[in-house]
Amino acid sequence: MRRFLPLVIIAVGLAAIAIDFAPLDRPFSDPAVKIDTRLGLDLQGGLRGEYRALPANGVGVSTDGLANIRTIIENRINQYGVAEPIVQTQGSDRIVVEIPGVTNEQDVRSLIGSTGRLDFVPIPTSLSVNQGQPMDLITATTCPAGGVVTTICILFSGDQLDSATIGQDERGNTAVNFVLKDAGQRLFSEWTAGHVNEQFAIVLDSTIISAPVIQGPITGGNVQITSGSIGGFPQAEAKQLVDVLRFGALPFPVEELSSDTIAPTLGREFLDRSILAGGIAVGLVLIFMLLHYRLPGAVAGLALMYYALVLFAVFRLIPVTLTLAGIAGFVLSVGMAVDANILIFERSKEELRLGKSLPQAIEAGFSRAWNSILDSNVSSLITASILYFFGSSVIQGFALVLILGVLVSMFTAITVTRTLLRLIVAREWARKARLYGISESEFTYRPTGRVRREVAPRV
């Protein structure tokens, strides 16, 4: 195993460099997606909103209902053609929306948040309504059975809509088709049979979006709306009507719990500053290690750069969305990653002073420090995991970075450093006291009588 370690390290390093810098396709992705660095909204600007679905008419929010809302909101956002919106359900009644790069957030928010209550309303013969006209349905009730209405009532709602598409009438003009589900089909069939040539309105959020006249009894649940214009509906208008029919209504009203808009320019500034600060931090640690531990410090520095390359590759591969806090976590993990090396080198120095030869001292340093390193890293993993499993999404981003950082550093700070040091101390040039920051006499000291007895002074 030990013979293959250098090869493993080189292979992992090359793979990491390839993932970091080469334009590779993501494995198992269809269609092919390039591996890229995912930046959080705080770093690229955009809109983040948290929504809560509320019970409607005494019916609680179901898992299916929530999933439905998610799909509808996603469809609504997709109409904007923005890049990679994320719409997620969270818990039993929450929906989190993240739209990177968006700047017209006011429009998007009113779109997301609109309940989109879609109703099918028979119009009493005494009235005549036009498209676009407001229609207050707050006091409206379900239409009575029997088929005669004098006031505005709701025949059925958007939940009875099965699908809607752009189609053509028999003359080839653009029309809008939609299909009703069983209950709606029955109600509509009964209604249309008795009210030919009367008006009928489709109402979204108290606005009439379409008010066709019934041409004849519609029994099969397949309904077509045609336009009197030459050529039927203009394409854009037909699409809009179809979109409303399809995505117009949420099964439950949603309430905006929080909303956060960050300008792309501000995100860019945050990103630049974080990268600058991170670079300075890593540089300072490298310099410190080199000055304080000399040759082993240089090796630890190499391992640290290796660590940064591998960790960044892991982030790109998974992918982990990097946020401001995540970058802080990354920089923090750099400081922590060298801790294992510090423990090892200090222990090795100690062993050298006790009279061990250089290779022995280094091996002892690694094996004796192992317990402390493991225990420390596990305690970090415990708290980071708690953050990951119980925290909100911003906190999770930081925690994931920390968890991956600790895991990767266990490999780089121990395996990589040890392998490199073993290779180096085998060389004659590397066996000089000053390369390790200890005195010549300590370096060459070999105990005579009592072996493995500490020489540190007693209190």
Binding site: Q131, A211, P212, L245, D339
Partner: protein
């Protein structure tokens, strides 16, 4: 040789000296009605923060504040940041309310799917009676394209305030950030923070007790952690009182990270204590601990130093968005190193000696016993 354990009273006293003022300020928070003590960001209190820049660069903080008061926002706070942006904080929310839902109609799970379903050819089709003309206002309008500047709100309460500000002070040229957080999210966050810190502390207590097979080590490590949590909270309570430094949603993350990290130094010392106990069996426990402390002192300081180095770089160059977060980490980690060396280990000695006295013998390596605590 320096006798840390012998001077433990001094170190305990020092810890009290730095925790008690902090504790007083922490406790002031609920009693002063927000006038003193910890200052919470809108993540916890709910409210709106809004970062805008006026086209007219001569607009002053006072003008903005006066105008906000005139607009009925008496509790608004305004601060001018580096690049001419005003950071405004309001208690008003910029959130969309639920629209009143019409009555009736059962809500089975509707499925607005996207599959094409051609209309049956035989079915009669109602034709639109009028030329479709007006735009349906509630419907999606697929028009907007992301631009360079985020929209200044025109709707709702914030929209009214924005319009008022622009009428008085000229157009808003840029909007860097607009965040609004409702009370539901805030209360979630507070509960979450408390649970996280409790579970995190218990996790560490369990892990140390398990690994060292000694509940005394677990408990003393926990005491050191609580010390660190109080120090960080206390410093923020004081900074909050004096400089309005706020605690935001990431603060709990910093606390947990401090908890996870500051125990590292404790582990290093305890690990050495465990090793030396076997090697120097029969020597007084206090001496073993003191010796272990001195042996590991250098590396405890060095490991913390590298982390302090990275955090200082973040604090100085990382920008204002993570300033408080990094500061909390920095204070916690420095405090963690101190408490590992000067609190956890001396406490361990006190407890061990007390236990030994109770069992009527001098110290020894076999005195590992479950304590009743």
């Amino acid at each position: 040789m320096f006798d840390v354990i012998g001077k433990k009273r001094w170190f305990f006293a020092f810890s009290l000296l730095i925790t008690i003022p902090g504790l007083i300020f922490i406790l002031l928070t609920p009693f002063s009605g927000g006038q003193a003590g910890l200052k919470f960001s809108i993540d916890y209190t709910g409210g709106t923060t809004w970062s805008i820049k006026f086209a007219d660069a001569s607009v002053t903080t006072e003008q903005v504040r006066d105008e906000l008061v005139a607009l009925g926002q008496a509790d608004a706070s305004v601060a001018l940041t580096g690049k001419g942006f005003f950071d405004i904080r309001l208690s008003k929310l910029d959130l969309r309310h639920v629209e009143p839902a019409p009555t009736a109609v059962p809500t089975l799970a509707p499925a607005p799917t996207a599959e094409p379903s051609p209309a049956a050819s035989g079915s009669p089709a109602p034709s639109a009676s009028v030329e479709p003309s007006a735009e349906p206002s509630g419907s999606p309008e697929p028009t907007a394209i992301p631009g360079a500047i985020t929209q200044v709100p025109t709707e709702g309460e914030i929209g009214r305030i924005a319009t008022g500000l622009q009428t008085a002070l000229g157009p808003i040229s840029e909007q860097a950030q607009l965040s609004s957080i409702g009370a539901v999210v805030s209360s979630d966050l507070i509960n979450q923070a408390i649970v996280l810190i409790l579970v995190g502390s218990l996790g560490i207590l369990g892990w140390i007790t398990l690994r060292f097979r000694d509940v005394k080590m677990g408990v003393t490590a926990l005491v050191a952690l609580i010390h660190d949590v109080i120090v960080v909270l206390g410093v923020f309570a004081i900074l909050g009182t004096l400089f309005d430094v706020e605690i935001d949603g990431l603060f709990v993350t910093a606390m947990l990270t401090v908890i996870g990290f500051s125990v590292h130094d404790t582990i290093v010392v305890f690990d050495r204590v465990r090793e030396n106990r076997v090697r120097h069996a029969g020597e007084p426990f206090a001496e073993i601990v003191n010796h272990s402390l001195l042996q590991t002192f250098g590396r405890s300081v060095t490991t913390s130093f590298t982390v302090v180095l990275t955090l200082t770089a973040l604090l100085l160059f990382g920008g204002s968005a993570t300033e408080e977060f990094v500061l909390a980490l920095l204070i916690g980690i420095v405090s963690g190193t101190y408490s590992s060396i000067f609190n956890a280990s001396p406490l361990l000695v006190v407890w061990q000696e007390w236990e030994d006295r109770r069992h009527g013998r001098r110290s020894g390596p076999t005195a590992v016993r479950r304590a009743s605590a």
